[in-house]
């Protein structure tokens, strides 16, 4: 085994709780297990602090009304209870941590003053969950070919909201005296992630929504167009946009 591969094992042990508990890791006896566990917990709190502060910045801006700062869950017993199963950057862990944040913030006594708070937390959670997963770190790794069956990328989400949140998000981060109120107007948002881990949110029309729901990696573009009720030009335009955002890739398997 190369030293680079050995380094990867150490990195995995720091990032992956179940692996840290496995015989595969422990039998290697590469490092003091007590120190490894302490450092892994330190890293986990740092890792999710960065993500919570970033993805939950709008509900953080509402903390003076809700009385709840999203990052407070990082010091809770519920967060500590996740350590044995936690995988830094894993989608299940992102879902669990986002769930803790949403559950804590929404229970604030002043939450009634923010009628869209639950929807806002769904929106922020969707972004944090979408961001999770393996990523390409280099810019010179070419994307796959774009002539296979279109497939919605894991983590891509369509979010149906009863409030038009994008209309007020910038206001939440600015100075305000009265809580900015979101228009009660149903919208659908697409949350997607690029190969490099960049999360994008875009308004989704019915064409985009149908393509995302139907692109399963088995239907050919022609079959997908028929199923979605789209013309070839419409489908091509939708797929180009979705591929650019990272929401759709083109399957090449058998």
């Amino acid at each position: 085994m190369s030293d680079r591969a050995l380094q990867d094992i150490v990195l995995r042990a720091l990032a992956d709780g179940p692996f840290r508990a496995s015989r595969e890791w422990q039998q290697r006896a590469l490092a003091d297990p007590v120190r490894v566990e302490r450092f892994a917990r330190f890293l986990a709190r740092h890792f999710y602090h960065e993500r919570i502060v970033h993805f939950f910045k709008y509900s953080r801006a509402l903390a003076r009304v809700t009385g709840r700062r999203p990052e407070a869950v990082l010091r809770s017993p519920a967060f500590d209870a996740l350590f044995p199963t936690m995988v830094l950057g894993g989608r299940n862990t992102a879902r669990a941590v986002a769930g803790l944040v949403a559950g804590d913030v929404v229970h604030g006594a002043a939450a009634a003053r923010v009628p869209y708070l639950k929807e806002l937390l769904r929106y922020e959670s969707a972004m944090m969950i979408a961001e999770a997963g393996p990523r390409v770190w280099r810019d010179d790794e070419p994307p796959g070919p774009d002539d296979g069956a279109p497939e919605t990328v894991e983590g891509t989400a369509l979010l149906e909201l009863a409030y038009d949140l994008p209309a007020i998000l910038p206001q939440l981060l600015g100075p305000w005296a009265d809580v900015p109120q979101a228009p009660a107007r149903p919208i659908t948002l697409l949350v997607a992630r690029s190969r490099h881990g960049r999360v994008t949110v875009a308004l989704a029309d019915s064409v985009v929504a149908r393509v995302v729901e139907l692109a399963d990696g088995r239907r050919t573009p022609e079959q997908l167009a028929r199923a979605a009720g789209l013309g070839p030009g419409e489908l091509e335009a939708a797929l180009a946009g979705l591929s650019e955002l990272g929401a759709v890739r083109f399957a090449t398997g058998s």
Binding site: Q7, R35, V36, R38, F39, F42, P134
Partner: protein, 261 residues
């Protein structure tokens, strides 16, 4: 030549930094935000140092990353480009700890870092300096002590050394040796820049760790000792970059660093 004394550019303190005195340079951990109103004044006023932009030199850098680093170096007019001795994500991109972490100190990693740093140096118009990263635990696969590995890297590449003193102090602490004794092992003749900052108790580590806080008197005394042993040092930087950093801590720390020197 007088040592420059500076800090990191913290954008939330941009208004204060834009009119501050007593700060010779600012290290740039992130590119300036597109709508940072203070950036033009900051660029005009300070010597700017490009810091840790590229990631990990355990792998070759791709062309776009090098081009972005070159354009930032030009934008900043940086006198040198700083990177970390770090390897924090797996080759397949599946795991990343999102925090500085040192490589194994082995022959293989030495060759990787030498080759990739040499390739980077060939593409930069400024000298490359590399910063030491602390280990909270030793990995038994390492083949040599960190200071010996660093000395061989600097001999092979001619790169400069960005000596992070709290990192040395922390390693000494966790090894149970005197900080001055551990410092003496490092190739101090290669040092171009020093970092100094505070440390605080961390509940998870059950011991001290890097924090965006003021350096203690002991840390400043350690800095004064280190600077005396680094004949080529050109700059000392207060190494704190965090939204929680206050203007008072930044300006007071820089002033105390200057006094300690």
């Amino acid at each position: 030549m007088a040592l420059m004394v500076g800090a990191f550019y913290n954008p939330h303190l941009g208004a204060e930094l834009a009119v501050a005195s007593g700060i010779d340079h600012l290290a740039m951990a992130d590119p300036p935000a597109a709508h940072d109103p203070h950036w033009p004044a900051i660029r005009e006023r300070y010597t700017l140092l490009l810091h840790d932009y590229l990631g990990q030199l355990s792998e070759p850098l791709d062309e776009r990353s090098i081009q972005r680093a070159r354009s930032l170096a030009e934008l900043y007019r940086t006198p040198w480009v700083a990177e970390h001795f770090q390897c924090l994500h797996t080759e397949d991109g599946r795991y990343s700890i999102n925090y500085v972490f040192p490589p194994l100190y082995t022959e293989e990693f030495l060759q990787r870092f030498v080759a990739n740093a040499s390739a980077l140096q060939a593409r930069l118009d400024q000298p490359l300096v590399m910063e030491n990263i602390p280990g909270f635990f030793d990995v038994k696969a390492s083949q040599m002590p960190e200071p010996a590995w660093l000395a061989r890297f600097f001999d092979a590449t001619g790169a400069g050394f960005l000596l992070d003193l709290p990192h040395v102090w922390l390693e000494a602490h966790y090894r149970g040796v005197a900080a001055e004794q551990w410092l003496a092992e490092f190739p101090l003749e290669r040092v171009v820049e020093l970092h100094v900052a505070g440390v605080e108790e961390d509940a998870d580590l059950r011991g001290p760790w890097i924090a965006p806080t003021a350096p203690s008197d002991d840390m400043l005394a350690f800095l004064a000792l280190a600077v005396r042993r680094c004949p080529g040092a050109k700059a000392v930087t207060f190494d704190a970059f965090s939204p929680s950093l206050t203007a008072d801590v930044l300006f007071t720390s820089v002033a105390r660093i200057r006094e300690a020197l």
